[in-house]
Each structure stands twice: as C-alpha cells, then as structure tokens.
C-alpha cells in the first residue's frame, strides 16, 4: 500500500514530538520533514509531491493561515493550533480538519481518516485530474494529457492504452479507475474494454462506433446508454 507523504510545520519542539509520534504510529502516513517555519516547508513543497500538511497557525515570519493563501495548489491541510478563533477561517481555506492543542491520538486518527477519504476520491495514485487535463503515469513519466485530445481508452490485459491526437500511452490502471477519473460529460463506456471520447464520435453503424479513425465495438450492456445519450443531444 502506498503511503501518503506529509510534513509537519510547527515551531515548538515538544509539539513537533507529539505529531511525530502519532504519524509514525499511523501505517498510511510517511513523514517527509519537520519544518520550524513555513518558508522551510515551501522549499520542500517545490521539490516533492506532498499530500498532507500538519500546520500550526502561530509561526515565526509567516502565519499558517497566510502561508496557505500563498500556495496555488496547496496539499490537504490539517491545522494544529491552540487558537480556536481561526477555525472558521481555516475551514474557509478548505482545511480538512482543525485540531485544538492538546489533542488525543483518537482525534488525530479521525482527522487523518478524513484526509485519506479525500485522497481516495477522485484523485489517486497514477492519476491526478484537474479541470481540462489529467496526469497519467507511463514509462516512469507523468504525462500531462489534455482531455480534449483523448480519442479512446482500450483495456489490454492489466494495462490501459490511451490514444490521443499525438500519442499512445500504456498506463498501469484498471478500467474501473479510469472510468471514475474521467468526467462523464466528456467520456462514455461503450464496451467492457473501451471508453471513448464523446466529442470524437464520427458515426454509429450497427454494433460499431467510429471514433476518429478507429472503429470500436459496442458492447450489448453499453449500447442502450450510448444511444440514450445521443438521443438527449438531439
């Protein structure tokens, strides 16, 4: 099982100690660094893919609240603070949870479970989706793929072949996962081994749908849904 990378941003050593202990007792978390201020953390965020921050609010130089505001794509955040008065602002900044010091391991678990739930839907592992593109992991690279450029996705054994305007990628993913990741408004499943782009459909003939230059079979169980979605458009 993959572990979620997290960092602690906290200036008091004894407070760091509690979080360090809790994180090491959690099987799904991997502690990457302990930072005494937000600027230290900033440096790590640019180098590594961090999924979770444990963030104090009252920090030297830059407060935790203002730090989050500077990040364009902040990781998930759990605030840890003695200040109850920032809870509202914290949640407005999309914090997953807000822990008031001192907090128990049980309370910590509850917060981390919320994080894991968030990380498991709908963005996970090899795929990160944001608006108009997704990242797909293939041949040890993370490829940024424009959703508009995808023609279709075909299951080949344990792999998925993703065919776009310009490339063909072999991605280690399941059909189910791919279907979850791709927006229904743009893609449709037409066969147990095929997902196609709605906008790339040229015509439907018998049990085949033409997607760009490829003729793709329509599975019996998917036929109705495909025809219905076309009817709706008319």
């Amino acid at each position: 099982m993959s572990r979620y990378k997290c960092i602690i941003i906290e200036d008091e050593p004894l407070a760091q100690n509690i979080l360090k202990k809790y994180i090491s007792d959690h099987p799904s978390l991997e502690l990457v660094a302990i930072c005494a201020d937000a600027l230290e953390a900033q440096a790590i965020l640019t180098q590594q893919n961090i999924q979770l921050l444990f963030l104090d609010i009252n920090l030297p130089k830059l407060s935790g609240i203002n730090f989050i505001k500077t990040l364009i794509h902040p990781p998930l955040v759990i605030f840890t603070t003695a200040y109850p008065e920032f809870a509202v602002e914290g949640f407005e900044l999309n914090a997953v949870d807000y822990l008031l010091k001192p907090f128990s391991f049980e309370r910590f678990l509850k917060a981390v479970n919320k994080v894991i739930e968030k990380l498991n839907t709908p963005v996970q592992n090899n795929i990160a989706f944001s608006n108009s593109f997704i990242f797909l992991k293939a041949d040890k690279k993370n490829h940024k793929i424009d959703l508009e450029s995808i023609h279709y996705i075909e299951a080949i054994g344990d792999y998925m072949k993703v065919v776009t305007d310009t490339v063909q990628l072999i991605v280690n993913e399941t059909m189910k996962k791919m279907q979850e990741e791709l927006p229904v408004s743009l893609f449709i499943r037409v066969h147990k081994s095929f997902i196609i782009s709605r906008s790339k459909i040229r015509f439907i003939e018998g049990n085949y749908v033409q997607v760009a230059d490829k003729s793709i079979p329509i599975g019996a169980t998917y036929r109705n849904e495909l025809l219905l979605s076309i009817e709706k458009k008319n």
Binding site: D11, E12, P13, L14, A15, N17, I18, K21, A36, D37, E40, I57, N58, L59, P60, K61, L62, S63, I65, N66, A82, Y83, E85, F86, L100, K101, P102
Partner: protein, 218 residues
C-alpha cells in the same frame, strides 16, 4: 451669615470628597479591566508541552506541572491584589521564563540575573511578566534561528531596576481579537495609575534588538 458660610464650606468639602471617591472607584474599575487579560494560548500551549512530555514519560513533567499550577494561581488569584510581595512576583517571573524556555527551540539563549534585597518589598503584579510576554512573542517566537532574551533585575533600597533585551524577530501578527495578551499600552496605563511620578519607562528599538528599561520606586 457665618452659618451660611460654614454651611457652604461643608458642601464644598463634601463635594470634593465625593469627587475623590468617584475618581478612586473609576481607577479601581479601570485597573481591574486592565488586569483581566492574559493570553489564554499560553496556557493551552503549555498544556500541549505537558502532554508531549507525558507521552514520553519525561522526567521534567512533575516539575512543569507544579510551575504551571503556581502560575495559574498567580493569574487567577494573587494578581487580584494591587500590590503583592516582590519575592512572589519574581518567583512567578522565573517560572514563566522556565515554561517558555521549555516550549522554545535550542537556539534560544536566555539569561536571567536577579540581584539585591528582594524580601520585604511590594510590587504591582503582572507588570514585569507583561514585558516578558512581549519579549517572547516578538523575539523567540519571531524567528526559527538564533534568538535571545536577557533579563536583569536589580533592587537597591526601594528602587527596582528592570532591563529586558530581546532580538527583533519577524512576526506575522494573527488577529486574535481580544486575546492579544496584556500588551505594552496596557502596562503603561497601569504604571500611570499605580506609580504616578514614581516610574521611568524607556523602550528602545535598536537595529537588532528591543530594550526595555523600567525604574520603579517601590
């Protein structure tokens, strides 16, 4: 005529007395209001340190609990009085420093020097500790690198000389509404009310440090 004169003299004297009494009451109320604020985060952060030590079964734990109890007693009860024994006030100052040091990182250098005849003297509570609260907030808390706090208290006859220096840190003030601690303005007002004409306060901002010098006639 004489009767009338003496009657109005009584009236004036009574009015003066009444006015004085009113002034006094006003001062008492104001002092009470000024005293009512101690930063609650200090207590929760200290409790968090205690919690951390409890997880580790740290030997410093029992002593720290006693220091915190003493400090809470001071803030909750002792500080209600206008004047308390200087010895008590300085004990609490030392305990406060110890608790703050416990929370700080290893790069904080604290020097505390207390000298002179401190027994049999009285002082208004919460004055000295407010300056310390500020020093920790702006100095130690304002940097994750090297920081320092130097405290020097000398008592000669009935004169108390208090000097406090700390590094100039950078703090990103978070707006905590009414809980910003006691504050310097507050302490200045208390000095005016409790030590009129009997105190000298000098706050200097130098290139790398803040220096507070307070002289009190006890």
């Amino acid at each position: 005529m004489l009767l009338k004169l003496s009657k109005s003299w009584f009236l004036v004297s009574w009015l003066q007395k009444e006015l004085l009494e009113k002034e006094k009451q006003k001062t008492v109320v104001e002092l009470k209001a000024l005293k009512a604020q101690i930063n609650p985060h200090f207590f929760f952060n200290t409790l968090n340190s205690i919690y951390s030590m409890a997880l580790d079964k740290d030997d410093r734990l029992p002593g720290t609990v006693l220091q915190l109890s003493d400090l809470m007693r001071y803030f909750l009860y002792v500080s209600r009085d206008n004047f308390i024994p200087l010895e008590k006030d300085l004990t609490v100052v030392k305990e406060y420093i110890a608790l703050q040091k416990l929370r700080s990182n290893a790069q904080l250098d604290i020097e505390t020097k207390i000298s002179g005849e401190i027994s049999d003297q009285q002082i208004a509570p919460l004055l000295l500790i407010t300056f310390l609260e500020n020093a920790f907030k702006h100095g130690a808390k304002g940097s994750s690198g090297n920081t320092f706090i130097k405290l020097d208290i000398k008592v000669e006859k009935n004169k108390l000389n208090f000097t406090l220096e700390n590094n100039k840190g950078i703090i990103d003030e978070v707006n905590t509404g009414d809980h910003n601690g006691l504050g310097l303005e507050n302490v200045k007002r208390q000095l005016e009310l409790l030590y009129p004409g009997k105190h000298l306060l000098n706050i200097k901002v130098e290139q790398d440090r803040f220096v507070v010098a307070l002289q009190l006639s006890l």
